[in-house]
């Protein structure tokens, strides 16, 4: 039984009306288009994709942080038996911070710049755990200590701008784990950080999952981070999962042309020098709606006319549990996959 079970989640942003001159901005935008995945306790599930693929919107929808006006959310997201998406504001507010927690990409803009760190950490302890005064302060100090912030008593009195980027992200993690949440959503938690600091934060998250059995939903664009951390990976493109597999299976046999192309276009530290990169042509802007066919078709090297007739379904062409949304997947017999030279 999984802790979180997301079923056909969709998020549509309404346009600004359909009057004369409304143009592109006037049309509704489907940011997430039927995404399903499960997260079990102690499991790390990755949502991977490039900008605009809907990974952050998915997280915001689960946390109930999308604006109510102009946004329609569909599907179900069962957390411990209750549907997060249809839950009332008051109810989800009780869950948020205590059972569900989120870490954002930019630690500076997720902290209040005019309130000391200590007040921001104790706020959660007071709201969800009823701790007050000295007890709350002590608990806050021990939380900061736990995430490796030296001299926590002094840091509690400081403001966000006085902390370094890595330190701020640790403070956010401290706030996120303050009530021992059962599900932690991390939206690009290390993208704004330097690589040695990124290594520190990733180890910290790993330890949290190992020791506390927290379920972690990791949202990132970095396939390297995914390879080291996630158990199960969902690759998103234009609002839909195009490939879902265990991490070893995915990296050994990327089967959707997009996942395959993505892995071919990353410079690897351990690759022999001179090995050319195989980029995916075009950019995500020239997308077509999933309803009319495969949204990746205009950039795909393997596309056929079949790709433009109806929405491709998730199938398991290679191994059980390895789902791929493609009518013409990259399979072992497909030698052209390795020989494909892409002109940029």
């Amino acid at each position: 039984m999984s802790l979180l079970s997301v079923d056909a989640l969709s998020v549509t942003f309404a346009g600004h009306g359909t009057g004369r001159g409304a143009g592109r901005a006037g049309r509704a935008t489907k940011a997430v288009d039927g995404v399903s995945f499960d997260v079990a306790e102690g499991q790390v599930v990755g949502l991977v994709g490039e900008s605009g693929c809907g990974k952050s919107v998915t997280a915001l929808a689960l946390m109930g942080l999308l604006p109510r006006k102009g946004v329609s959310v569909g599907g179900r997201a069962e957390f411990d038996g209750a549907d997060l998406l249809s839950m009332g504001e008051k109810k989800i507010r009780d869950l948020r911070g205590s059972q569900l927690a989120m870490i954002f990409q930019d630690p500076l803009s997720s902290l209040n710049p005019v309130v000391p760190i200590g007040v921001q950490v104790t706020e959660i302890l007071t709201r969800h755990r009823g701790l007050k005064g000295e007890a709350a302060r002590k608990e806050a100090a021990s939380l900061l200590d736990r995430v490796g912030i030296p001299d926590p008593d002094r840091r509690l009195k400081e403001y966000p701008h006085q902390l370094s980027g890595g330190m701020r992200q640790r403070a956010l993690i401290a706030m996120a784990v303050a009530c021992a949440p059962r599900l932690l959503i991390a939206d690009e938690p290390t993208t704004a950080l330097d690589v040695t600091i990124q290594a520190q934060i990733l180890e910290l998250l790993k330890e949290l999952v190992d020791q506390e059995g927290t379920a972690l939903l990791m949202i990132t664009h970095d396939l390297g981070v995914v390879a080291g951390l996630c158990d199960q990976v969902n690759v998103l493109y234009a609002g839909r999962a195009v490939e879902t597999a265990g991490r070893r299976e995915l990296f050994a046999h990327p089967t959707h042309p997009y996942a395959h192309g993505l892995l071919g276009s990353i410079p690897r530290l351990d690759a022999p020098r001179g090995e050319p990169l195989r980029p995916i042509r075009g950019s995500i802007n020239d997308k077509i709606a999933w309803a009319d066919g495969c949204a990746f078709a205009p950039r795909c090297d393997f596309y056929t006319l079949q790709c433009l007739t109806g929405t491709p379904e998730l199938t398991e062409p290679r191994a059980p549990g390895h789902q791929v949304r493609c009518v013409n997947p990259v399979l072992p017999a497909d030698r052209s996959a390795d020989a494909a030279e892409v002109s940029s």
């Binding site: 410079p267 050319p276 950019s283």
Partner: protein
């Protein structure tokens, strides 16, 4: 003779205080004595984390910031001492590609205007007609349609904007292009397109690149020689392959071990060297070796008192560490934890 030689380059920014009189109360030692050579037709990659001075160094080569000391010798001329007007004239031979493609293009100029402005300033092309012909040729080379000429920056995607930035450098027929984080603002699938483009252009035009980036995998892919910077100075320099095969400086070791590789087998096997704490402030860098406050191999002697010089340890491989040979031979022990304890242990460090 190398095309571009930096010798002891320093860039110090004064820190001022006071309402009526600006008193200089200290300096930020952004770049503090960097010497390196960039060979013609090659790519030199500078890597380091934010605040290590790599961008400032790149800007100093073009004299976009004032150089406090040292020499920047380009093709036999010391740029650091060149009068401003002479510097302006030589600048078309040294061009720059910036990180943020939207921020570095004027939103109110169309592409033709952006690209021809530099040409007019440097007297390239007799008239606008000739310049337009040349711009069209360059646009085709960077993979942009000819109808881009009359369009504005906002009409292009991120990858296309970076191509415009590259075209802007190319129209001036430069010898050296300094690329400051050329792909870090782009999505991974677009990154590869731009990296390949830079490599193709280097081959067809014989360009020399100084690539500044924080992403070690990108730098390793594109560079012939790599220099690793930490807090204003070079700590290690080697050919791309030698650096990957055997990093000698403790900081390089930690940096390389921290770069995620998209391969679960590699990720599971490797030992991460985690560092204690954060980068110290470049306004008050630690005495002695600047890395000693975080170094896992810090020794009792020398590290805290004596600043190591870059010394040659193998052909073309320079390292600034007192104990590089001993660490390599395994005769000195780690003095700090490098596992998860490095992250969670908050015991105060002795300075």
């Amino acid at each position: 003779m190398s095309l571009l030689e930096l010798d002891g380059v320093k860039v110090h920014f004064p820190v001022k205080k006071g309402v009526f009189f600006d008193r200089t109360v200290g300096h930020v030692y952004a770049v503090d004595g960097v010497s390196l050579k960039v060979e013609a037709g090659q790519t030199y990659g500078l890597v380091g984390e934010s605040g290590c001075g790599k961008t400032t160094l790149g800007r100093a080569v073009l004299r976009l910031v004032d150089i406090t000391g040292g020499e920047v010798v380009f093709d036999g001329t010391d740029l650091a001492k060149l009068p401003d007007e002479e510097m302006r004239k030589i600048r078309h031979r040294l061009q720059m590609v910036f990180q943020d493609p939207l921020g570095s293009l004027n939103p109110r100029q169309n592409i033709e205007s952006i690209l021809s402005e530099g040409m007019a300033a440097h007297g390239i092309g007799a008239d606008q007609e000739e310049r337009r012909t040349r711009i069209k040729k360059i646009l085709a080379e960077v993979g942009l349609p000819a109808n881009a000429l009359s369009r504005y920056p906002h009409e292009f995607s991120g990858g296309q904007r970076q191509r415009i930035g590259i075209a802007r450098a190319l129209v001036l027929e430069p010898d050296v292009i300094i690329c400051d984080e050329p792909v870090s603002a782009l999505d991974v699938s677009i990154q590869a397109q731009v990296i390949n483009l830079l490599e193709e252009l280097q081959e067809s035009k014989g360009l020399t690149y100084l690539v500044i980036a924080h992403d070690l995998a990108v730098v390793r892919h594109i560079s012939d020689v790599i220099g690793v910077m930490y807090l204003g100075s070079l700590v290690e320099e080697a050919t791309s392959d030698a650096l990957y095969a055997g990093p000698r400086h403790p900081y390089t070791k930690a940096l390389m071990s921290a770069v995620p590789v998209p391969d679960p087998d590699v990720e599971d096997r490797r030992e991460r060297i985690l560092l204690h704490g954060d980068l110290p402030s470049p306004a008050s860098p630690p005495a002695g070796c600047r890395f000693h406050t975080r170094c896992p191999w810090k020794q009792e002697t020398r590290c805290a008192t004596e600043r190591p010089e870059l010394t040659v340890v193998a052909d073309g491989h320079r390292v600034a560490c007192h104990f590089a040979a001993e660490i390599e031979a395994g005769t000195v022990e780690r003095t700090r934890a490098t596992g998860i304890e490095a992250v969670t242990d908050t015991a105060p460090e002795e300075q």
